[in-house]
Symmetry: C2
Subunit: 262 residues, 2 copies
Amino acid sequence: MGTTQAARGNGVAVADAPEPKYWHLRTVLVRALDSEFQAGEVLPNERDLSARFGVARATLRQALDQLELEGRLVRRRGIGTLVAAPRMGVPVAETAGRDSWRIVDAGYAPAPAAVATTLGIPADEPVHAVRRLRMMHGQAIGAETLYVPDAVVPHVPAIFAKSSIADSSRARSVLRQLQRLELDGESRTVELGVAEEEQARMLERPPGTPVLVLTTRYQAQGGTAAVAVSTYRADMCRLTFGASGVVDVTPAAPAAEVRTAS
Amino acid sequence: MGTTQAARGNGVAVADAPEPKYWHLRTVLVRALDSEFQAGEVLPNERDLSARFGVARATLRQALDQLELEGRLVRRRGIGTLVAAPRMGVPVAETAGRDSWRIVDAGYAPAPAAVATTLGIPADEPVHAVRRLRMMHGQAIGAETLYVPDAVVPHVPAIFAKSSIADSSRARSVLRQLQRLELDGESRTVELGVAEEEQARMLERPPGTPVLVLTTRYQAQGGTAAVAVSTYRADMCRLTFGASGVVDVTPAAPAAEVRTAS
DNA sequence: GAGTGGTCTAGACCACACG
DNA sequence: GTGTGGTCTAGACCACTCT
């Protein structure tokens, strides 16, 4: 047994706690990031780092994966691994600033089963689906699809209503009418997810990117008038709630360029 | 080039979209989970699965990693890979049910730098740190540390105040006084993190487990009276906000046992 | 002891960005 | 072309759980 422990020896291993190498590596790197690096700096490449720490590249990558999940690093294929800027505070206000959204388009098709259930409509009933991007500091940090049943926005022009073609005119029409609605309130949920193909494309990230999934139920007249499913880049965003008046929370970003190009 | 694509051939690869094998695998598995499996069922072991799909075990594991991050699978060393139950809705109410918390202990030491800044106190000033567990369905799904400056709870008995020994009597004393405070409101943030050693231990999970980090600032008299940092298991929790009255959101859990033992 | 997931290795090749 | 991160492989051994 003692032999086993020694043989495995990860350089710091003690018989007491067989800490995985990659986790120990992460700890070392965290300390280095905190003390010796500035946001935007480029780390040595993975092959050099793994050699320096005396581990296989795959093991080093496991540590980097953790740090990327925590938003401490940004890896760019063909470029290198950079130190990330602190996460942005993203307000999820009751009436979230509408100028921070960029409309993409809107379609008219059945919603996902879970959404249809929440809306209290048949699973095969088509609804308006407005897609838009949450912009911050000039870049897309979140993608949202807003599902609105026909009955809630009865005045969408028939030109749009009958067509399933996605366009932004329909989006504006739906949003306009939704804003006029008297809402009783909103309830929200947050959970962890991964970006599927469509969202990944909108966020300009590879599929599988971890995202914070924010689901908003807009209540009106005792029921749910609309549902919004927003996916925010988990590496870049810190969602902020109910900060009445407190809007910022975001450092003025001296090294904003780190996140500028995705 | 065409040769390259064919040689790489992942079984479904088309020249158009060089989709990674592990991502394609995930898609296949998601479909299988949706249609052929019940929560709590055990999947074939990794060696069998990788052979069946004709990939290396590491590649299969990459797909399973994704599914675990999404909360679709639970992997237990020595046991196998199980289909997870749907995530629990965890209310983050203004006055979150106090009986869903289990007090662990409380200490008296300087808070992390970021917390001290928020509280507007010197980084080296000791504060009360109450640690407790969020329980649901009989299991710990979140761990919280509540930081309260001395000035906010002046009536903590001197027996506790002078000692840095962690115990639950101090915790109760601090919580009691905090409840009597008149709060102007609370602001919250949610972001993705990974469980460090201490939290991991409290949650009975390995270090590096992804967690939703919920930071609550309790406002009083124009300032921040206290700060709570809660880490919830990202694989099991869906945080719910402002669901006035709507408390549940959690299925009655016919296969609750899936999550019973961590 | 047998079976499972977790860690680690060494090496190969691919996709992408840049000069 | 060169250098970077991303994917994939085949194999080994460890830690854990159950019988």
